[in-house]
Every structure is written in structure tokens, then in C-alpha cells.
């Protein structure tokens, strides 16, 4: 019998198609997106050329992904090959992760420490501040560009390559790099501000999201798994700001869902042996909306639950929802509380790809993955993986008690760096 699938046309309408035809249709639309109607690709490639010209003329400096960063190569939507640095990374933390889902960052650092990857976790870093721009219109392109440039210069001084944790920072930085290269007016204004804070304009050759790093490291990660997770079914939600905001530069791979979806996150789950399920609202946003999740929560929550959580659970019966952005983790996880109180039964644990990979590699669910900050019930997932969460919880509580009594905290520590910082910072 030929396998067939329903294509959701919205508002309850569906057409039944052979799966092979549906995949062909989606692939065709991806190709169109990259090469025909969506002609932004040419502009993006032109911008990259112009960046080289500006470097040659001495107007800007470029932070290259040189051999010292041991780059891997990926293909992007534009068809261009992009270099992904794999070592000596400057961790660009996310304002949305660190305050209330710390496992997003600690799981990533733990994986890197396990793989002996040197990195820098700098206190001389601000977020991209685009939260204020997208959320409330309280920034402007010059300020955003200058914030981007100051962070990139701080990384350059440390001789470490920026790895961006947040989908929005990654999207915003793609936007403002484009703007700074293409607009002399913006560039000149930014340079004047940088001068005031004692910094130079150094643009990164590649902008890299952490999920792309996990993607290129997936086989190494899979090789170190401690638990067999082949019995786990997962759904993936990709963040809009990684693959819709300046869509041209995110990673696609023909071997991952035939290149119909962005490769990162899905590829990591597949490498670990997880059964990744598709669902009809795959391309929908999580419902975050920046200001909305704080001050117009009903819109954010309703969208997250009825367009993502409910269809995901009903259609895929997945054990876990894997994401790669801090806002998406927050929205998809937290939006399940009120709906549960209203009697909606569908629920699914939400973790980042790094948290899931770390769990499979044997990371502590609380000391490292910090699952106690997540609200949707994760106990069933841990039990299915084979993790004894009750013992782990006791260990964690003992650790917290010991800290209260004055014990020395245990931090994740990367191996020593091989690259030396470039210069002393001058601004005081």
C-alpha cells in the first residue's frame, strides 16, 4: 500500500497526498524560497561581497573563521557554504535564558567541557538588546548595531569566536550586520559611537547560532551517549528568528528531512537515534511575541497551546518537544500551566536540544540540566530514557543544602585555552 499523509490547508481543510508527493511539494517550495520568488538571496550574497571590499579598503576589520577555530562546513538555505567554528568559542549568552532557564546554558557548557572544547564565558558581554527593539520599539538600528559591534569587538579582543545562544540575537545580528555593511550612514554613526567607548568596528565573517555548532558536533555527541534513546519520539520546533529572519543564512542539509526543514536540532535528535516526528503546524511561531508573553499573555499562551502544543501532542504523541531558542522554551513550556488548569489534557516536556543531548550523554538532570526550572512534567521522559530522577533529585537537594552550609560550589570548567587574547581592553 502506498503511504499517504494529510496536508493541512488550515481551518480544518485537509488534502490526502502520497507522502512522497507531499515531500516533493515541500522540497519544491524550499527551492523556490531559496532561489526564485524570494530573491533576497542575491542581496545577501552581495552584502557578503561588499563586506570583503570594505575589509580590503581598510574601512572595517573582519573576524575570520580561521583554521585556529577548527571550522566545519555547512550548507545554508542560500546554497552558500558557511564555516562553523568548533573550538575557542566566545559564549554570547541570552538575556532570556540565564534568568530562568539556566539549564539551556549549563547543558551546552557541560557538553563542551565533555568534548574538551575551550571557550570563554565573558562578564564583559551585554545581550543584543533587541528584546527592546522587537518587543517595544525602544531601540533603533544605530544602537542595535553599536551593541552588536561592541560585543563582537570584545570577542575579537579575547581571540575567541562568537557563538550566539539566542535565536533573536542571531537574527538581529544578521539584520544589523547587513545594515552596517550596506549603509554608509549607519556605519559612520556606529563608528563614531565605538570611538567614544574605545572600540573598533570588527564584523564577524560568519554569524553562528549554537544549534549549528551542535549540528556539526552531532556524531561526536552521539558517540558519547550513555543512554539508548531510540525508544524516544520527539517533535522539533525551530525558532522563527533563526530561519525566517534573514532566512538565507541558516543551515540546511539534504540528508536531514530531505532539506525541507532547517537541519539543526532535528539532526542532533536523529544522530542520537531519536524518532523525529513531523506535524501540521511545524512552521508556526511559538507565540512568544516579546512584550506579549509579559503583558498580553492570553494571546501568547493561546497561540502556543492551540497552534503548537495541542497539535504536536495529538498528531505525534511525542515524548519531548525539542527547541533551540530561549523565548521558545519559555513560551512552549510555561503556556501549558493555565491550559492544564482549564482541563486541556495535552502536555509535553519542553527542553533545548543541548539539554536533551546532555541527558543522553549522562549529564545530571538537575545539577547540569536544571530541569527543576521547567514546568511541563519531564518525569515521564526521564523514566523512559532510564534516568533515575528520584535519586538525582536527592543528590541535588543535598548539594543545595551543602552550599547553604558553606560548601564550595562546583562549576563547569572548560579545558585551558590554546589561543591568547589579542589586546588589553582600553575603555575605563
Amino acid at each position: 500500500m502506498t503511504e499517504s499523509q494529510a496536508l493541512n490547508l488550515g481551518k480544518g481543510d485537509e488534502v490526502e497526498m502520497r507522502t512522497v508527493d507531499l515531500k516533493f511539494l515541500q522540497k519544491l517550495s524550499m527551492d523556490r524560497k531559496a532561489h526564485l520568488a524570494y530573491g533576497k538571496v542575491e542581496d545577501y550574497l552581495r552584502m557578503l561581497e561588499k563586506m570583503k571590499e570594505l575589509e580590503r579598503s581598510g574601512e572595517i576589520m573582519v573576524h575570520h573563521v580561521g583554521d585556529e577555530y577548527e571550522p566545519a562546513t555547512v550548507k545554508t538555505l542560500s546554497g552558500r557554504e558557511k564555516k562553523v567554528p568548533t573550538v575557542e568559542l566566545w559564549q554570547h549568552k541570552s538575556c532570556g535564558q540565564c534568568g530562568h532557564i539556566p539549564g539551556y546554558i549549563s547543558a551546552l557548557y557541560w557538553i563542551m567541557a565533555e568534548l574538551k572544547i575551550p571557550y570563554v564565558d565573558d562578564t564583559n558581554q551585554t545581550s543584543c538588546t533587541a528584546w527592546n527593539y522587537y518587543g517595544s520599539g525602544t531601540s533603533n538600528p544605530v544602537a542595535l548595531s553599536a551593541v552588536f559591534a561592541r560585543n563582537m569587538h570584545a570577542a575579537y579582543e579575547k581571540n575567541a569566536y562568537p557563538l550566539i545562544h539566542c535565536g533573536t540575537s542571531y537574527g538581529d545580528y544578521k539584520e544589523v550586520r547587513y545594515l552596517m555593511v550596506m549603509s554608509r550612514e549607519v556605519r559612520d554613526q556606529v563608528k563614531a559611537i565605538l570611538k567614544k567607548i574605545g572600540r573598533d568596528l570588527v564584523l564577524p565573517e560568519e554569524l553562528v547560532h549554537y544549534s549549528e555548532w551542535l549540528h556539526v558536533k552531532r556524531n561526536e555527541i552521539a558517540g558519547r551517549r550513555k543512554f539508548d534513546v531510540s525508544n524516544i519520539k520527539a517533535a522539533v520546533h525551530a525558532a522563527c528568528h533563526t530561519y525566517k529572519l534573514m532566512a538565507e543564512d541558516f543551515t540546511y542539509d539534504p540528508t536531514i528531512m530531505e532539506g525541507r526543514r532547517p537541519a539543526p536540532t532535528t539532526s542532533v535528535a536523529m544522530a542520537l537515534g531519536v524518532d523525529v516526528k513531523e506535524y501540521s503546524t511545524w512552521s508556526d511561531c511559538c507565540g512568544f511575541g516579546f512584550r506579549h508573553i509579559l503583558t498580553e499573555r492570553e494571546i501568547s499562551r493561546s497561540f502556543a497551546y492551540f497552534r503548537k502544543i495541542q497539535p504536536i501532542v495529538r498528531e505525534t504523541k511525542a515524548d519531548v518537544l525539542l527547541v533551540h531558542d530561549t523565548g521558545c522554551v519559555t513560551t512552549l513550556d510555561k503556556s501549558q500551566v493555565v491550559t492544564k488548569a482549564h482541563g486541556f489534557p495535552e502536555t509535553i516536556p519542553v527542553v533545548s536540544d543541548a539539554q536533551f543531548a546532555a541527558l543522553a550523554m549522562g549529564a545530571h538532570p538537575f545539577k547540569v540540566c536544571q530541569l527543576h526550572w521547567h514546568l511541563a512534567d519531564w518525569k515521564g521522559l526521564l523514566e523512559k530514557i532510564g534516568i533515575d530522577w528520584k535519586t538525582a533529585e536527592t543528590e541535588y537537594k543535598d548539594y543545595v543544602q551543602a552550599l547553604k552550609e558553606g560548601a564550595k560550589p562546583v562549576y563547569i570548567t572548560p579545558p585551558p585555552r590554546r589561543l591568547k587574547p589579542r589586546a588589553k581592553e582600553t575603555f575605563s
Binding site: 530562568h100 528584546w131 520599539g137 548539594y399
Partner: protein, 258 residues
């Protein structure tokens, strides 16, 4: 002590949005025609000129063929009265009818999630979400009432981002507002926040309560300098004066002249 918290910042935050946390209502449900009628036509025209002269404009707007692809994928369209096609259409006609744009800036645009789903699917390569971002910025700069109303409940976040570059900091997880609807588990966590925070295995995060991670003073000084020089502080002053003044105060303490 394994927990650090700035008393000054805490007291400043306490004075913003004093009654805890209130909601700004459902944007997009009102079409503020009355306000537009009362608006200053000179300001309306200036807004149109500024938007069209902006370096982003030629990338974000081409011409709209009214196909509605953008609206079909727009999340808020499913829940409130908001459609990106309308936004682009009004931008298209803004030169001749600036009051149409102004009217829309007064509330309607604040529904946008800035997800950029629309940008990805527009056959004319318009960026409706990008245009909305420009219009929100303009609404703040010109101190529109709707911007004030939309942003007031958001003032703590605004202040945190502008001064520390971080937000949703642990000290905002009180056991009641603003995260009451995140359930009992979160409230429990909030009760033991200091211990939980101290047990985070990342040194730059561990024990930090009033920021998301430890941020150097000189870093905050650079950030506040950038906001001042790029005109952000002045822009915010038009809409949320108290926040902008607090940012200036925080800057002065770090050595940024007013």
C-alpha cells in the same frame, strides 16, 4: 555571601509600575480613529517622511500585491484584529493619506509578535514585521499615547535591558506577580530562589539575582553610553520619562555624563 543584589536597582524597580503588574489590554481591538482625528497633521507628515527616509525602508518595502500570504501565516491574526497586509497597504498609501498610517500606529501595530513569518513568505519581498518594528519605534519617539499605554507595564524590563543588557532577572520571579500564571511549581522555586540560583553550575550565573549574569561595570557603562549617543535614551524619554531618567541616573553612577 554567594548572592549579589544591588539595593539601588531594587529600589528603582520598586518604584516602577508600583501596583505590581498590570496588563495593557488587548491591542488591536480598538481602532483609535478618534485619536487620529485629534492628531497633529504636521506630526503625521513628519512620521511618514522619517519612515520613508529610513535606511531600512527600501529593503523592507517594495510594493504590495495584496495577496495576503503574510496575513495567512501571521500568529496574532488568528486571535486579534490585526493583519500585516493592512499594515503594508497603509504604508503604501502613507504619502497621500498620512492619517491612515498614524491611526494604525495608535494601537493596531502593537499586536505584532515580530516573528517575521510574513517576511519569509512575501512574494514581493516585503518585510511587514520589519515595517511594524519601524512604526513602533516611531510611535515611541513621538510619544504616542498608545506607546505609553503599551509600554508602561513593561517598564521594568525596559529599564533592566537598558542598564544591564539583561532581563527577566531572577529577582523578577517573585512568588506572586508577575509570573503567577506559571503555576505552583514556579512559585515554589521563587521561594527558594537564592539557593536555586547559587546552585547553577555556571560561574557567571551562580548567585546573580538582579542580573541574568554577572555583567562588568564597564560593560554597563559602554551600553548606557551607546544608548545615549544613539538617541535611544532621548527617544524613551518621550514615552516613559521616568525610565529614561533612571537610566541616566544609573549611567551617572558609572561615569556616563548626562
Amino acid at each position: 555571601m554567594y548572592v549579589t543584589k544591588s539595593e539601588k536597582v531594587t529600589s528603582r524597580l520598586g518604584s516602577l509600575n508600583e501596583d505590581g503588574w498590570h496588563y495593557s489590554g488587548l491591542p488591536g481591538l480598538q481602532w483609535e480613529a478618534e485619536n487620529a482625528r485629534m492628531g497633529d497633521r504636521k506630526v503625521m507628515k513628519r512620521i511618514v517622511e522619517e519612515v520613508q527616509a529610513d535606511p531600512r525602508f527600501e529593503d523592507f518595502y517594495h510594493a504590495c500585491i495584496n495577496c495576503g500570504n503574510c496575513t495567512a501565516v501571521c500568529p496574532p491574526f488568528r486571535l486579534v484584529d490585526f493583519a500585516p497586509r493592512i499594515v503594508v497597504q497603509k504604508v503604501m498609501h502613507a504619502k497621500d493619506e498620512p492619517e491612515l498610517l498614524y491611526q494604525m500606529m495608535d494601537q493596531y501595530i502593537w499586536s505584532c509578535f515580530q516573528c517575521y513569518s510574513c517576511w519569509e513568505v512575501c512574494p514581493a519581498q516585503n518585510n511587514p514585521g520589519g515595517l511594524v518594528a519601524m512604526l513602533k519605534e516611531s510611535a515611541v519617539k513621538h510619544g504616542l499615547t498608545s506607546a505609553k499605554r503599551s509600554l508602561e507595564p513593561y517598564s521594568k524590563i525596559l529599564y533592566k535591558v537598558m542598564t544591564t543588557g539583561t532581563q527577566i532577572t531572577p529577582d523578577m520571579h517573585s512568588s506572586n506577580a508577575p509570573f503567577r500564571d506559571w503555576g505552583g511549581g514556579k512559585a515554589d522555586l521563587a521561594k527558594h530562589l537564592r539557593e536555586e540560583r547559587a546552585a547553577v553550575a555556571v560561574e557567571t550565573l551562580a548567585g546573580t539575582i538582579d542580573k541574568s549574569w554577572k555583567v562588568d561595570d564597564r560593560t554597563m557603562k559602554e551600553l548606557i553610553t551607546i544608548e545615549k549617543e544613539a538617541g535611544v535614551t532621548d527617544m524613551v524619554k518621550q514615552t516613559l520619562k521616568d525610565v529614561a531618567e533612571m537610566v541616566e541616573e544609573a549611567g551617572e553612577e558609572l561615569g556616563v555624563p548626562k
